[in-house]
Symmetry: C2
Subunit: 279 residues, 2 copies
């Protein structure tokens, strides 16, 4: 049984932590500076509050970084500043280039990086979620989850592969949601929304519902702004067009006011935010 630090238990991190607890591991976290909602979530997940990040790292053999993509590198720097020398699993939605920067950061102080990518929603036994792992030691991390709600798959591939896979996956799911929201907005701006919906009803019936997935996504849009930029940069790093996800990032930027909203907004509320204000 291992001692594992979870930085930081948001919705996904808490659920992944609970999976580790369910396998008998001791999972610690750092409540310093975190919100009451995070405290409640970590407690419910069975995580042990160690106080500060430095305290959480003491005695931990493994650290999981599960945070919004724009915070991933800063998280690695904070851990490196504590001279942490164990295994560091970056399971964030970041570009291969970013995970290589994380690797450089944590390995400079003697830690070892494992690359991770999570696909699916927070694992709770009612859904299907996978964590992909790559790099040396990926198979050992995968083993930690065997028998839990989180399916783990070690790729026989170097650091960068798990992140690349996550980027490819989200490029479609979150990219398509943004593209369709853009299209619904254009239809509304041009006064052809009813005509588009009736044409889709004839030739693309599944597209109508799909174009409204943005309503459920809106509460998470603030986190996806940087994720879309990470995806764009993944394409550009290999000479492919990154434009799609610069567009998706802009769509989610316009929706960031819906952060953590309790009930999904109506489609018309979404379109009102996406379209420039008149006058």
């Amino acid at each position: 049984m291992k001692t594992i630090a979870m930085l930081h238990p948001g919705e996904m991190g808490a659920a992944v932590g609970a999976c580790l607890v369910s396998r008998g591991h001791r999972v610690v976290w750092a409540s310093a500076g975190r919100s009451p909602a995070t405290v409640a979530r970590a407690k419910a997940a069975g995580l042990v509050d160690a106080g500060t990040v430095a305290q959480a790292l003491q005695g931990a053999e493994i650290v999981f970084s599960i945070c919004p993509p724009h915070a991933a590198l800063a998280q690695a720097k904070e851990v490196a500043a504590c001279a942490y020398r164990g295994i560091y699993v970056d399971a964030n939605a970041v570009a291969p280039k970013t995970v290589h920067a994380v690797q450089k950061t944590v390995e400079a102080v003697g830690a070892q990086l494992v690359d991770g990518g999570i696909i699916g929603s927070a694992p709770n036994g009612k859904n299907s979620t996978r964590i992909y792992l790559s790099g040396k030691g990926g198979a050992d991390i995968a083993d930690l989850f065997k028998g839990s709600f989180l399916n783990s798959i070690a790729l026989d591939a170097p650091i960068g592969a798990a992140s690349a896979l996550k980027m490819c996956y989200a490029a479609w799911t979150k990219g398509a949601t943004a593209l369709l929201a853009d299209i619904r907005s254009l239809a509304q701006a041009e006064g052809v929304e009813a005509a588009l919906l009736s044409e889709w009803a004839i030739s693309q019936p599944a597209t109508i519902k799909r174009s409204e997935q943005v309503t459920a996504a809106a509460r998470k849009a603030w986190r996806w702004i940087a994720e879309m930029e990470e995806i764009a940069s993944s394409f550009e790093a290999v000479g492919l067009p990154g434009h799609f996800h610069h567009g998706a990032s802009e769509i989610y930027r316009r929706l960031d006011g819906f952060k953590d909203i309790a009930q999904p907004p109506a489609m018309q509320e979404i379109l009102a935010e996406l379209l420039p204000k008149k006058g």
Copy 2:
């Protein structure tokens, strides 16, 4: 029964012309400077060769412009230069802004514009294709097709609406095809193609086949470069992100070497064109 000029009978134009012929109209075209393949196609469709564009316009009450999007405005200028004063139906995949420029061009010499947008493949009785029409006189144009293989729908909306609807529709179908081709290329570049396909098999099974639609699209990519730019400009004209379709345009630009290829290329041939050449 009307005399109608079809400029120019490509695959779509010839099929739309045949629909008009099937309703008893006389459909003329201009063979001057066109390829033997176009001559054969027009003949098979029952169109009458008038020789030049100027000759085709003589006696025509209605002109249909059905051409690659990048040629739409030049086509209107050529017709205006002949002092044509009948009805001009622009049925091309162009932005509302472009159709307004076409309107200005043809109405300057006394013609009347009707805006059109065709959704679906060339109508042949085995598929389902619609032409949307907007602007004054749209309903009369719609009536020409009643009882033919082409379903016609007059929108109660001004010039620009039929084009906007076409832009919205193609923004998804052709935009999503390009986005998925970009993603497949990234997966290949990062060595995670097999992992992505097996993840999709678990969670997005329809996406695998959809990501290969680009193979069937490749022969038409050369025409879609400008169409994607027309779509991007449609978004930008109303203050929405146009990035997605600048990306799609770049994808189709990389595939323009497959122009009119007889057999769809293999997926790996597509990816080889999309990825920058090494070394």
